[in-house]
Symmetry: C3
């Protein structure tokens, strides 16, 4: 099992390594990313040809890009993809043309209110080309002719995703999903792949797992749709809880976004852990969704999935700009998310219904479970044990009991162990 004090650093280093790669929903960037993750965990990399159907959608052509720039009359590259891959609108068609600034302006994207930020813009399903740049750079462009060059290709190819199935004692599954389609941005979205990679490492090293783990690294939307269209029947049968993992790298907040009706096991587990460990967490409505839970929780799909995040996408100011860089995330930020998700998984693994085996209260004294010397702390321990027993009536699982008696589940583990050892519960 990895030393958890080191995990935050390791996750951060993985994010650093992946940061420069130009990812999109298809193309070499995704493949390169998955190959690096494969050095950590035995991911299977799968390819789905352009044109394949996924429910209401079709896999688009594969997009790749070699270089892209805008050059002024003096031959200066005033905008250059090599400096920041956000400079090119995702899925830009190729172009090599000289035009006036006025003409060029129709294809430029910047944010007036954030003059230093390069925005992140894509156009997957409408052919278009464009450049993104900081508003201050845009204002500095002089009248004149510019050479515009995008050396990209949009061709029959494939969509790439990674899948790891870690078998457990039962066919019932926990599902973890994150995405690998964003270019150089850190919180959204390299924090998700980094945390999920290390969760997978930790799971692989566990001596036993009740559940099977299905872990995917997909391009957002089209990737989750493709994956669902291939695996839905099996997943609907087996998945008991899942988490969509995105924006898990900063230190500013913990956030929760529920499933469509907010009543699944994943919701209950996430809320229990966050309530006890990070009671200040922010609770969103499903109406504020914006990631792959849109597909996983859609009508008819109905997977029991919730989202645990640090600051939610769309809420932090650097979101979808070049300011979402490696300074926004931190080892501690990643570690916090990792710990919460690990707690959720541990809780899922141990959660079950218990029943006290005797009628009336058991006599704890003759089993050494009742302290000889009474202190405030031992009083609490006995009280927690008696409260646990009072509701261990076979109708409540650990989550229910935790909610009723107000005790964090991890404080119940020693109680459960002691009572199992004393043969008092089943």
């Amino acid at each position: 099992m990895p030393d958890t004090t080191m995990t935050g650093e390791a996750m951060y280093r993985l994010a650093e390594e992946l940061f420069p790669i130009c990812r999109s929903i298809t193309g070499e960037g995704v493949r390169q990313t998955l190959k690096i993750i494969q050095e950590h965990i035995p991911l299977k990399i799968k390819e789905v040809p352009s044109g394949s159907s996924a429910f209401d959608w079709t896999v688009p052509n594969e997009w790749n890009i070699v270089e892209a720039y805008v050059e002024d009359q003096e031959g200066n590259k005033v905008i250059d993809f090599k400096k920041n891959n956000l400079h090119v609108v995702g899925y830009s068609v190729p172009i090599d043309q000289v035009m006036s600034l006025q003409e060029l302006q129709q294809h430029l994207y910047s944010i007036e209110s954030m003059p230093e930020a390069i925005p992140y813009v894509t156009s997957y399903y409408k052919e278009r080309w464009g450049f993104c740049l900081s508003h201050q750079l845009r204002l500095s462009l002089k009248e004149g002719q510019y050479r515009v060059c995008i050396n990209s290709s949009l061709t029959q190819g494939s969509l790439t995703y990674g899948e790891l199935i870690i078998p457990g004692e039962t066919e019932k599954e926990i599902f973890l999903s994150t995405y690998v389609c964003h270019p150089s941005m850190a919180n959204n979205e390299l924090s998700g792949p980094a945390v999920v990679t290390y969760l997978a490492k930790w799971l692989l090293e566990l001596p036993r797992r009740k559940y099977t783990y299905r872990i995917v690294f997909v391009p957002e939307t089209i990737g989750s749709l493709v994956y669902l269209s291939k695996n839905l029947k099996e997943m609907k049968k087996n998945v008991v809880a899942g988490f969509n993992i995105s924006c898990v790298g900063d230190e500013r907040a913990y956030s929760f976004l529920p499933s469509r009706y907010g009543n699944t096991l994943a919701d209950r587990v996430a809320l229990n852990v966050l309530t006890h460990k990070h009671p200040e967490f922010v609770r969103y409505s499903y109406l504020e969704r914006g990631s792959d839970e849109r597909q996983y929780c859609s009508p008819g799909v109905d997977l029991p999935m919730a989202s645990i995040m640090r600051t939610k996408y769309g809420v932090y100011p650097e979101y979808h700009t070049s300011l979402d860089d490696l300074s926004l995330i931190s080892p501690a930020g990643l570690q916090g998310s990792f710990d919460v998700l690990k707690d959720c998984i541990k809780l899922l693994e141990i959660n079950r219904k218990y029943r006290i085996k005797c009628l009336g209260e058991p006599q704890l004294g003759r089993r050494g479970l009742y302290p000889t010397i009474s202190t405030r702390e031992s009083g609490n321990t006995v009280r927690n044990m008696m409260n646990f027993i009072a509701y261990a009536d076979g109708s409540n699982d650990l989550l229910d009991i935790s909610e009723i008696i107000g005790l964090p589940v991890d404080q119940m583990y020693p109680i459960v162990d002691a009572l199992l050892k004393a043969d008092l519960i089943e």
Copy 2:
């Protein structure tokens, strides 16, 4: 379809025309009133003989009145039914007698705290006679002898009510009920008959109606009991929602009074419309009831009926006095009620459960449902559509979805239309 800007005026004119008639729970006043309404809508006027049973009740004798006055020694008619039909206690037995002021006082009704108001008093089920007058007039009466004359009759006759059945595509019914038993008072109750008459006109002109409409103009209590005793079996089978319509003419408030358990379709529809259109509306408890919902929602009858009012009966100071006159109601007041009830009916007509036909989110872009240019407004439209789709899972009707996503139902109509056209929902 009538020009709605004119409907308020037209309803007010109808109330004006009906105002002078002396109505009671039986008699010529009711017949006259229904005949005038018949000029607008094809009402069937029905007669039920005195002595007929209606559940626990019996139709009383028919009451009619020609004239009534109190004359002083000088021959001045100090109280005169011709000036205001509220002057006579409803169902007064005939009398022609000279008596002292002291004796007369036993039969006078006034309100000390409202010295200018003539109260509305009836004695349907105990034989009695009496006069109502303003307290200031009462105080001005001098000692002496008075001739008291009430030329009324209480004889075997019938109870009269009006019924209009407007057929729809199904046998399932919407039920509208109002009453026509109050003498010259405007809000309670000519506003109800005026609004219901124009709702009926509007319904008759609709190109199609999913529901059949059962519309009644009855005397309060005994009339609704008589009507229920004749039609209950059919109504229990068919009525899906109904509204008791009373006190719908002033401009001071909107009010809601629920059914007995507050959980019928009528309650949900009324609350949805009022919440979105008049969020300041006043919400009463069924314990504060006082109109024909007492019968329609009684145990064993259990019709799904709610009440939408402007200021509730019993709450406004002019209630059941001569101050509830034509100045209390207005075209705008009537129009407001008409519009809310029309919205309720439209919502009932369109309300049903929808199901999205594809798995995962549909690709709105290739159907032209996703805007090319992103503005805040278009963002809202897409978000509303996606939220609608998220809950259009076949288990929710429009009302449910409206409550979940917080969108008024009338803003859902274009979404439903667009999605039906794109063959995305069923």
Copy 3:
């Protein structure tokens, strides 16, 4: 039926009579106590031999004590069981020995923060001896040798409890339980036995009882476990509601502690009575339990039992010390508890579901149930009756209707009587 103004005084006198007796969970003190109670009600006194099993527990040896003291070198009895039976740790083994103060200190119990109070300490299941004393007395003990004498016995004997079954018209039972194992303390616990004795007297004198009453006076914990182990099957079949009666003698508060899930008939009845009669009552959680509901409400036992108290055990400062003496309880304190419990029992006796026999509202007028003269009070009476009728639909019992219409159940009794007499409900 006893004159209730005298009951408070009589209960207090019984507590006074029982106060000096040294009780424990077994022994002569319990027998003596039950014999005195037997002078009031035909209690059956039962003996269960030491060593008998009770679920997870075993009846301990019987403990009796003749005398106990600590004598200084001058022959002064500085601690003497004869002065206060709290001075000896309950279940102390015999000893007769001379020892230094230092050695003695290991066996002394006092409360530093309450220097005048003698604490109540027991050691039922671990052999031990000890003395309890006020902290100020402890501080005054001089260095030197002390003779320590406890003339007690711990031998095969039996556990004693009292049971009274008062038959009713049905086999269905109301269960009342209190305990008789505390030495000289008044609120906890002679108030319980005093109140239960007088409730039993009152029940015995009732002309008719729908329910059978099962009333027990047991030692706490082991006594209730013993009783349950002998009677559980029958009790689970018959008990519809029960009350654990403890700490019912002071005047400071009313308190409520629910059953394990708080949803039994006993909970509903207790909450209804307290809400209407003592709305300032304190509501505890089952997590704050500490009396025999720990056994009666344990998983698998699941009796429908709630606790009504004055100030709850553990909450008042004198709890489990010599300060819980006869000055802490009062005739008025006992009477208040007696009245609340009597109200609960009356409510249980009368509570059932009623159904109005006619459709629509009944015509109260022709039955003399509608007042001829309208006053505010008569208006309330009619309104309460109409509200009662509105919800007397066969699905609600009196408790439900009380909650819906906000009327105390005892104000419903005359309504129920009048409607039954008029043959309007069944």
